[in-house]
Symmetry: C2
Subunit: 241 residues, 2 copies
DNA sequence: TTTTATTTGTCCGTATGTATC
DNA sequence: GGATACATACGGACAAATAAA
């Protein structure tokens, strides 16, 4: 068990970290602004600069702040809470957070489904699917890039509908699918690649969240599967059981 | 819409990628083994090396393969599917996948809860909590490091129990909590820091999955909250709705 | 330890089909 | 139709890292 100062029962660096975190949560330090210098914070708490550095390091690891050598430590923007549940709609989620959702079609085509894709969508191998590559934004800030696939027989020219509606929900509604349910979601993480780096406006080496999902209509038939990359610094998934 | 060779309706590099992916899924290329060289694959499909490189790049982005300059391209180990549901138990999940789960206590103490922690656990500010830092492994491979907090009044010396049982489920059972439920899970991503880098046996700059969770007992009272960092290359979360 | 061959990474270029204005 | 931009595909050269002789 760790050494603990007798007076408080809490390691110094944890107290400093808690205080700074409270300052961010309470609005004392606004997103995007610069924190006081390490020496200044140290003086303020009456601790050594190393203690402040340890506190800042834990906050940086959790993505609350970002240190820039030679410049200072900055408060990161709060991540958008992105709930994953039976009813998961990008536009609804972003809209609820008080932001304006926007989708943009990057590319599309009709292709024969590979083995994996055919299985996910319950199709025969090489059955035609509509592929839609898209970029999704909240308040003009890119949130994710991804690819969706729909059965081409049931949803012919879905890509053209998406291009005008800029919303998957509206696109499906065009085909009389008024409601649908998320069946399964898989979440992993990786590093951004060069192409996504530009599309998502991220620095090279930034982490991204990989999401694979399958949606069913109300009869339980798969209608849509998506593979998306989210900017990890802007999003946090929330699963409520 | 993209240019497509008329004969097939599918871009060449996509066909190559699909074929290699099928080879991995079908066991033709086993995890950890080396794929044929780029030139060899190119000859096999009758395409240019650059076309193969594009196919491999997409597979690498999804974490299926990993290229090593001067050596070759290797099939990555399949990520462990880690379901997130009402009943989420590390040892059960790892055990079900045919692996041996193990937990190790790194550090612990009793501390006053900060504002955020007290709220999550439904305690008064500065109420004492037991903090347990731990490392969890599957087949001796580190999977995650994290910190759990429990109300100290209800679970006195929970850290000592954990140290011997090496399992949170067994620790809670010791306090007559035979069952508990995951209430909420938050998932983000970041880069590994120096300390976790060593603990998780990762290369610097590797992505990690950040997980914050709160568990309730069957009365709906919060009993446990955890903040963990998972090695993204070894784990994939699965949410079924 | 040094050399050599192999393999991936990066850059130059050319040609072609498609989409957009 | 023309001009432009972009993605695909091929060709070649060399650098950098690795592995084996």
């Amino acid at each position: 068990m760790t050494y603990q100062p007798a007076e408080s029962g809490l390691a110094l660096w944890r107290r400093v970290a808690d205080a700074i975190e409270s300052g961010i949560a309470g609005g004392k330090y606004q997103a995007g602004t610069r924190l006081p210098g390490e020496l200044e914070i140290a003086e303020q708490f009456g601790v050594h600069r190393h203690t402040v550095r340890r506190a800042l390091a834990t906050l940086a690891e959790r993505g609350l702040v970002r240190a820039e050598r030679g410049s200072g430590t900055y408060v990161e923007a709060q991540r958008i809470a992105y709930p994953i549940r039976s009813r998961t709609r990008f536009s609804e989620i972003i809209g609820t957070s008080g932001r304006e959702a926007d989708g943009r079609l990057i590319d599309s085509s009709v292709e024969p489904a590979g083995a994996d894709l055919a299985k996910k969508l319950g199709l025969k191998a090489n059955a035609p699917v509509v592929r839609i590559d898209m970029l999704r934004q909240a308040n003009r800030v890119p949130i994710c890039v991804g690819t969706s696939w729909l059965p081409a027989e049931r949803f012919p020219a879905a890509d053209r509908i998406y291009k005008t509606t800029r919303s998957m929900t509206k696109t499906l509604a065009h085909f009389e699918v008024t409601d649908y349910r998320r069946a399964v979601t898989r979440v992993g993480a990786a590093l951004v690649d060069a192409a996504d780096c530009a599309a998502l406006d991220l620095r090279p080496g930034s982490p991204i969240l990989l999401v694979e999902s399958v949606d069913h209509d109300l009869n339980g038939d798969p209608i849509l599967t998506t593979r998306a990359r989210f900017a990890a610094e802007r999003i946090e998934f929330v699963i409520e059981s």
